[in-house]
Amino acid sequence: MVVTQPGDLHEEHEHEHVHLPQHRHHFETEEQQREAASFGMWLFLLTEIMFFGGLFMAYLLYRNWYNPAFVAASHTLSIKLGALNTAILITSGFCMAMAVWAAETRKRKALVNFLGLTNFFGIAFLVVKYFEYAEKWHDSHIPGLKFSIADFGKLGVDMAQKTQVYYSLYFAMTGMHALHMIIGIVLIFWYMVRANRGEFTEGYVAPIENFGLYWHFVDIVWIFLFPLLYLIDLGAK
């Protein structure tokens, strides 16, 4: 085993082959750097799963306890708007996948365009969400700020009060999801500027690939939220 000790002379870094400008010195190869970045992103998504996991656990627990309240409250959500948003989000996920493809096949123009489309649908999702929230405000279904149990009279006062837990979770979960969308949208604008400079279409695709993972994760969270909040009690009265 030999460890070379650096002398007092400044030794030059000799590279056997030409590196991309984005290659960092502490990685031995570009492959290692790409793998590390991807692994890091998957781990980060794991922390995100744990983050949302707390909310999902609370939802399952309370849904079990206060089933009638959850059924009644979920019927007040607009399935039309929810379904529209699901379609919008899946489309934006498709555009993101195309953006990754464009980066990998080194198509600069296509990359910028697909990122733009992803962002357009992302913003459209938030606009629809805004209308949904406005509807909740109008119906006085916002616990803590503006809430009345008028819509749930037939449940009895006790159970009707429990709909507040449902709406608390609805706002916590969709709000947290929307926050992730907003962060993603801001990042896409930044990536669009950099993509336009041609940064990601010369073989350095890790940021786009990893952002793609993030965006798909946000999609997947919604894919769980939509049935859990909107659809699950569709058949129940």
Binding site: M1, V2, V3, T4, Q5, P6, D8, H10, E11, R24, H25, H26, F27, E28, Q32, E35, A36, F39, G40, L43, F44, L46, T47, E48, M50, F51, F52, G53, G54, L55, M57, A58, L61, Y62, Y66, A69, P143, G144, L145, Q161, K162, T163, Q164, V165, S168, L169, F171, A172, M176
Partner: protein
Amino acid sequence: MSTIVSLPDQSTAALPKRNYLNAEHGLLSWLLTGDHKRIAMLYLISITGFFFLGGAFAGLVRLELLTPAGDLLAADTYNKMFTMHGIVMIFLFLVPSVPATLGNFLIPIMIGAKDLAFPKINLLSWYLYLVGGTFTLTALVLGGVDTGWTFTTPLSTHYLNTHVITTGLAIFVAGFSSIFTGLNFIVTIHRMRAPGMTWFRMPLFVWSNYAASILMVLGTPVLAIAIVLVVLERTVGLGVFDPSKGGDPLLFQHLFWFYSHPAVYIMILPGMGVISEVIANFSRKRVFGYTAVAFSSVAIAVFGFFVWAHHMFIMGVSNYSALVFSLLTMLVAVPSAIKIFNWSATLYKGSITFETPMLYAFGFIGLFTIGGLTGVFLGSLGMDIHLTETYFIVAHFHFVMVGGMLMAFLAGIHFWWPKMTGRMYPESLSKLAAVTTFIGFILTFFPQFILGYLGMPRRYHAYPADYQVLNVLSTAGATVLGVGYLLPILYLAWSLKYGEIAGSNPWQATGLEWQLQSPPVTENFTEIPYVDYEAYDFEWLAHKQKQEVTTVG
């Protein structure tokens, strides 16, 4: 030191001309650095600052308890003091201490990498730590927070009119610092090991930090969401924990302890890694049952996730789940005991020398064993109901976290100080500090076991006069302990300028870090090493030195 023959390259009494400390100059070169060793030093300085702040709160708490009457601090001031003590010590000292300083410095070197996988994220996590610290200080300046460090609802969401939101934000941000550190370690250990550095050739310090990182990455987000929900309940009145809206305060406790019990292992596992290194080195033997010790770290991490509800035995979990959690809790004792037994077996027939790190390591073993065994008492249902929320608990977790973790941190700082700074610390003073700390610790916390057993509740600023003798002993011990902590910071600072030049391997230790110059250069290795020997192979080292001596001679 006298027993160890110097290596040939140690005779030159000057620091290497080029090292990571003088690679670049100016404050900005530190504040924008990507070098894991410099970030480790930044952490060391800031963490030490917060440690003494937290210590000052502890001092006030102990002073108040000197007399039975609540005469020094008013009840709410006292509540704020122990809350700030807990928050600062746990979130700003114990959780980041070993991973962020020693782990940051050593993990890349120990596995033969030039840096952590994500240097920028590493620097970001230091800034997040500082932002968290600043929020905590802001809460303090604005008037403090008195929920206790556990933020128990509905106390924190409805009844206290203090700065819960600011402190919650502090913990949220500091939590991200911890998540990013853990993530960085896991990726580095998986992807950046030097050729030949297999999983079972890694030093046990790397293993234990790996296990702790898993806990950080999986546990911290759950704390984050629990804190977010508390803040949302306080600000806009969401009702996830609020009983009047159908929520359940106990859910908060489940979410909180799902992180905060594993957090105990986030604190203690890296410390155990330090102890493995120190014990192996100062008994000149490979750690007995290396594989078992490595796996026991992972086992502690896994079991650590299944024991949280023992914090809620008296708060309304069902008898059946209490029984299950009681059994699971005791199960954690098994991997912990594996470590203790294997360290003892390593010491057996070893060539033991009592250098300062070894003294701290012995302190760790003694105190952690007491802390761990009293944990088994508390895990037993019946005992827990008698002892919970008394000073027995306080003594128990201080034995584990202060007696264990802090001893390990000091052992590690002394052990790797020559590597980090290139200079030795003064030997006799450091031994005095180690002994003072140990005596001070026992004197402070042992009386609290008795107090708890006699029924003195925690979190009260006044108590019946019967308890005074033991409380006076405890406060006296805290003073001794304070001296034990102040000494190292004084002589370590002194050694930066006047300490003896350490040379590359003052302990004749194995491990890649000891084959680099002290302090190492930026990027550690000019050529990535090929590792073809096992960890703690002292025979290999002796063989290598023999060769070098013959070549020089």
